[in-house]
């Protein structure tokens, strides 16, 4: 009697367990489904417009076929460069501070503010950059766009760097100190160096994250139909070009916008793959 009840409750439990596992598997598939759909859609719509000319040719006027987004590609590269020049050193330095002085009151304040900044809508950062970098000089500039993206990068890199440095065992810090390393030298040559593959990954992920940002650029970099490499002039960027082409009424421009979106997706995908490779090859060997 008792065993029969136990057996039935066991069956019930097993059934419930199987159902829950099935639900989580479905949820996991649903989580990745959008990316697969987006990729399929972009390839269908954009692949045909993708050619060498997309990267080397300038936009053509309305009515002319062909043309590319050379200026937008160059602009995106330049904006990422400016943003990284600001976001990486500040973010890595702040992350090192947070990880090495985790108990300090300033550290918990900085950590909290980073999280807030991380959650801030990117358009707010764009408005902020416009107020301080565009309005005073009365014209849009690549510099303002790059700084806006850099501000977005800082909290991403800070928190990721902190996490990576925390993975470095305390025993290594102790070993360096016991060898007569000064604290700063311990932090730089042992802790930071051990965490470096993780930090490189974090930096790449942050770059991937900002590469496609549009909102902070709308009233900072603004966009430019012409070739420009000047930091003080408005500059084009892939997301901006996609935006203006997508809302235009011309089919050729729509096709180019699809191609631009595909290029952005490919860029993020490649960066993510590189990041994975860096993490595997260095950390895998370093830790048992």
């Amino acid at each position: 009697m008792a065993t029969a009840i136990r057996r039935r409750s066991l069956r019930l439990r097993r059934a419930r367990s199987a159902a829950m596992i099935a639900l989580t598997v479905i949820a996991a598939l649903l989580a990745t489904l959008p990316l697969i759909f987006i990729l399929a859609l972009l390839i269908r719509q954009g692949a045909s417009s993708l050619s060498v000319a997309f990267f080397t040719a300038m936009p053509k006027p309305v009515g002319e076929t062909g043309g590319g987004m050379a200026n937008a590609v160059a602009g995106t590269v330049m904006l990422i460069g400016i943003a990284s020049a600001i976001g990486l050193p500040v973010g890595i330095g702040a992350g090192l501070y947070l990880a090495e002085h985790r108990g300090a009151r300033l550290a918990s304040v900085v950590r909290f503010l980073s999280d807030v900044l991380n959650g801030l809508p990117s358009i707010v950062i764009g408005i902020f950059a416009w107020q301080f970098l565009v309005r005073p000089v009365k014209h849009f500039s690549a510099l303002a766009g790059g700084i806006a993206l850099g501000v977005m990068m800082v909290p991403l890199v800070t928190r990721a760097t902190e996490e990576m440095i925390r993975l470095v065992p305390d025993a290594l810090r102790e070993a360096a100190l016991a060898l007569g390393y000064p604290r700063w030298r311990t932090s730089l040559t042992v802790v930071l160096r051990t965490a470096l593959p993780g930090i490189v990954t974090a930096a790449l992920v942050a770059v991937a994250r900002i590469a496609g940002e549009t909102a902070p650029l709308l009233f900072t970099a603004f966009g430019n139909q012409f070739w420009s490499t000047s930091v003080t002039q408005p500059i084009s960027a892939l997301p901006l070009q996609i935006f203006s082409y997508a809302i235009s009424p011309y089919d050729e421009w729509h096709a180019l916008a699809w191609a631009g979106a595909l290029v952005l997706l490919a860029l993020v995908l490649i960066i993510s793959l590189v990041a994975r490779f860096v993490t595997r090859s260095r950390f895998g060997a370093g830790h048992d």
Binding site: L177, L179, G180, A285, G286
Partner: protein
Amino acid sequence: MTEPRRAMTAVRVGAVAERAPDAVAHGPILEVRALDAYFGADRAVRDVSLDIGEGQVTAIIGPSGCGKSTLLRSLNRMHETVATARVEGEVLLEGKDIYARGVNPIEVRRRVGMVFQRPTPFPTMSIRDNVIAGFRAAGRNAPPRAEQHDIAEWALRRSALWDEVKDRLGDSATAMSGGQQQRLCIARALATRPRVLLLDEPTASLDPLSTQMIEELVYELRGDVSVVIVTHNMQQAARVSDRTAFMLLGELVEVAPTSRLFTAPADERTEAYITGRFG
């Protein structure tokens, strides 16, 4: 000459072990004087006075949590690297207090090396770079390559690792076995030519064969460098040390030549511990 002196020491040790330093063979390199070590309000080491003989191996034994590691970490100012930790009392290294005002803890740690329970090779450095890491940190400018190599070879030979790694000095140190990593850490500590080497349960994470190699190495090192080894393994203390100190609840109960501490302990608590009645 030595016999009467030993007998006298035994009486003294039994009577006032914490106050009167036991006689040491070659004169002390380290003199611990009335040392207290705290974690916050918790007093982990209580009024310990102890002499470490030059060129000797001194073992510190005692049950878990008796403060033996904390005492060891107070000898090269590593204790204070933990938040809220502090030290009172004196530790004289060659007659000079390492806790005196104006003494740089970094200088102390270069003269009093340390190896920990788990091997800690720097994972980003090659075997050679690991060995000379401390040596390089000491100098403002990196010494010439040839000199670096000589130091690495000397330290690796000294730690009985040279023959095993001489053909792969440029390889990552993390690919070595645990025992090799620990000998590498000893080589790394020796490369800065410390006067004293502190070993904090150096074989606790190693297999028996690696343990034996480390013990033989410790035995070999005596004479050149003074060794203080913390161990919870009494047999190990008996095998490698000249003198043994027994700690209990933060206090130093007894310190005596190893053979005597294990055969004729003066304090009944020591006897209870070494005969396995507690701990």
